[in-house]
Every structure is written in C-alpha cells, then in structure tokens.
Symmetry: C2
Subunit: 215 residues, 2 copies
C-alpha cells in the first residue's frame, strides 16, 4: 500500500508516520509521497531528510481550485497512491480530489467528533468547558470533519488548560492514533469505501479502543 | 445541604445517590425529597423503601406547565431544598422552575456533551459511529442539555454495540459520576451559580477527571 501524506504545517503527525514506518509499524505500508500546499512547510523538510519524495503545489499558482486539485490528483496517480492521509492539511477538500480519492482518504482531527469540527478545535473545547476531549481519525467526505469515524482517543481537560496546553496533550494521542489506523488499513482490519468503513475483525480492535480511553 | 432528586423512571441514578448517602459518600448532604412526574415511577418506590419523602405531581392534573412547576417549586421550598438533581427527569425544565432553582439544579446526561444532546443519546452515539462516548453532569439552564459542564466520564463504544448495550456501559459510569459531583458540591469543591460554575480547588479534582477516562 502506497501512502501520500498531505500537510500544511510543521508535520508532527507526518513525523509519527515516518517513525512508525521505520520501526515496521505500518504493516508494510510505504509513505511514497509527502505533499504540501505551503512551500515553507516543515513537513517537506522532514520528508526530504528521510529521502522521501516531497512536492509542493501552491494554490495561488493555479487559476481555480479545480485546476489545483487536478494537478494534485495527477501527482497522486503518477505515484500510484492507494491511501491519502490528511495530517494537518489546512484546506477543505474539493470535489475533484474527492471524486478521485473519496473512500481512500482519511483525516485526523483534534477533538472527539462530532464535537468541535472545524478550525481551532482545542480552543473550542476549552471554551465549551468539556472535561474530556481527544482526537479522531475519520474517512473524508464532502462535509467539514463529518465523515465516518474510524477511531478515537480521549484525554482529560483541566480547568487551567489553555488551548495550547490541551493541543499538546491531544497531540500525544494523535501520534499514537494515526499510525495505528494506517496500519489497520494496510493490514485489512479496517476496509474503506466511498462513504463507509467496515471492520472485518472488529473484536481484535476492541482492546485498543478501550486503551484509547485508558490513557 | 438538602437535596431533591427528580426522576421519571426506574431511578437507577437515584439508587446510586441513596447508596452513596448510606455509605457516607455525599459529604454530609441529605436526600430530603424524591419527586416524580410519573405516578408509577420505580423511583418513588425506591424512596419509600428507604423512608424518604416521595411525592408525585402529574402534569395532567394541572392546567398549564407554569401551574405544575409552581406546585413543584412550592414543594421544594417547603422542604428547604438547596440542590435539585435531575436524574432521568424526562421533562424540559420551564421558566418557573429555572427562576426558582436555576444555579442550584444539575442534570445527568448519557453522552459526552456537547455531542448528542436530547433524547436517546446512546442511540444517537451508536448511529454516529463514535468510538468513545460517556456521561456528563451539568448545570441546568434554559437550553437542551446545554448548561455549563461540571464533570464527565468516558466509555468505549464497540462496533457490535446496540443502544441498549451502550446504555448499560454508560450507566455504570453515571452511577459513579453523579454521587461524586453531589459530594463535590456539598463539600464546596464545586460552586454553582446562575449560569456558571467554579472550582475553588480544581487541582484536587484533576486526578478524578483523569480517572473518568481511565476506566
């Protein structure tokens, strides 16, 4: 299974995937391409330092979102990508990307969806005063962080938390969650299709779901 | 501190409070009144079996919600109630009850709010496909399960879960959460006011918040 990771920023979730791949923790899946919409994204540097193919396409160089996503899809196809992982990719996926990779594209989001979709999920959680938050990996669909949920992990929220403190606590769990889900997909324990997911051997995942709460 | 528990059904959360009171686990708070809007509610039987005052007022015996809630408020005042606990009370609290006991009324809800407010929260969670759900105790305000959150506990959700299976798993946590929160309020660790809560000694609650995830 060939994976493309799309990231706009520092790429810490990319780093967790690269580390898992090196340690043999992705069930044989290979990170074949790292892509960013931001020329200066640290994610691109991380990829290059591991001799991974790293490509940036800047939307401002295209006359429309369709054209930009066409170029991205061509790139993904040229690399025979099987799974697209959005790891801090700060753009809403448009119809072009979804038409090509819907059902083969996952996203990680820093809240227990369906609570707090959209931007600044950790600040939303702090403002709402929840005592438990976490992170979610889900299949990408046309909505905002609305696709079928594959897995989640929980963290406590304390009264003195700032959004930054909560973000750091959630990030620790993100770095466990995303490689785990990718390895499940590579091993066939989670099967993705357009708009749906299935777990052929769900029972084998049960203890891990529980561990995602037992932090 | 004198407590009234309002329940419409079997009263399992009432039972957890009665057991905690007997075991000295409510920090000295006393359950002074059990109230139901349903004449046949098992909650009333549970109260009587412990020699607690048990009262039923049936809304159908009143010409309006205001009149019904007026009678309920008079009853609460006659018993010098300091805290009203909604424990499976299946009515939306109206302006009359809120005017008298807003800021002194808490509710327990079987989801990790703000996800899944309203009826059949556990079925909502199963349908949404979340992998983590739980329960919430919050201050009651004019919205639907929307008041400030006091505490939460999490449970895993498995693929084979029915709403009934998830309900049973959450209920185990509800029975820990509600007596804990009542004891915190009685001990002054949580201070309620109209529309707001504060935690004068929040750090002392931190390990318990974490324990609510570490199930």
């Amino acid at each position: 299974m060939k994976i493309a990771v799309l990231a706009s920023g520092r790429g810490s979730n990319l780093e967790s995937l690269l580390a898992a791949e090196e340690a043999g923790g992705l069930a044989g899946a290979e990170i074949s391409l790292v892509f960013s919409d931001q020329p200066l994204a640290l994610a691109l540097e991380r990829a290059k330092s591991r001799d991974k193919k790293a490509v940036c396409l800047s939307p401002r160089d295209f006359s429309s979102k369709v054209e930009y996503e066409d170029a991205l899809v061509n790139l993904l196809r040229a690399e025979d990508i099987d799974l697209v992982v959005l790891a801090g990719y700060m753009r809403i996926t448009g119809g072009t990307l979804l038409a090509a990779y819907g059902g083969r594209m996952i996203n990680i989001h820093p809240s227990l969806l369906p609570s707090f979709p959209g931007l600044e999920a950790q600040a939303q959680a702090v403002t709402a005063g929840v005592k438990i938050s976490g992170c979610t990996v889900h299949l990408v669909d046309a909505g905002m962080d609305s696709g079928p949920i594959i897995a989640q992990r929980a963290v406590p929220v304390y009264g003195e938390d700032t959004a930054a403190m909560l973000s750091a606590r959630i990030l620790v769990e993100e770095h466990k969650l995303l490689p785990q889900v990718v390895s499940w997909i590579a091993a066939g324990k989670v099967v993705l299709s357009k708009g749906a997911i299935s777990f052929p051997d769900e029972k084998s995942l049960g203890s891990w779901i529980k561990e995602g709460i037992d932090i």
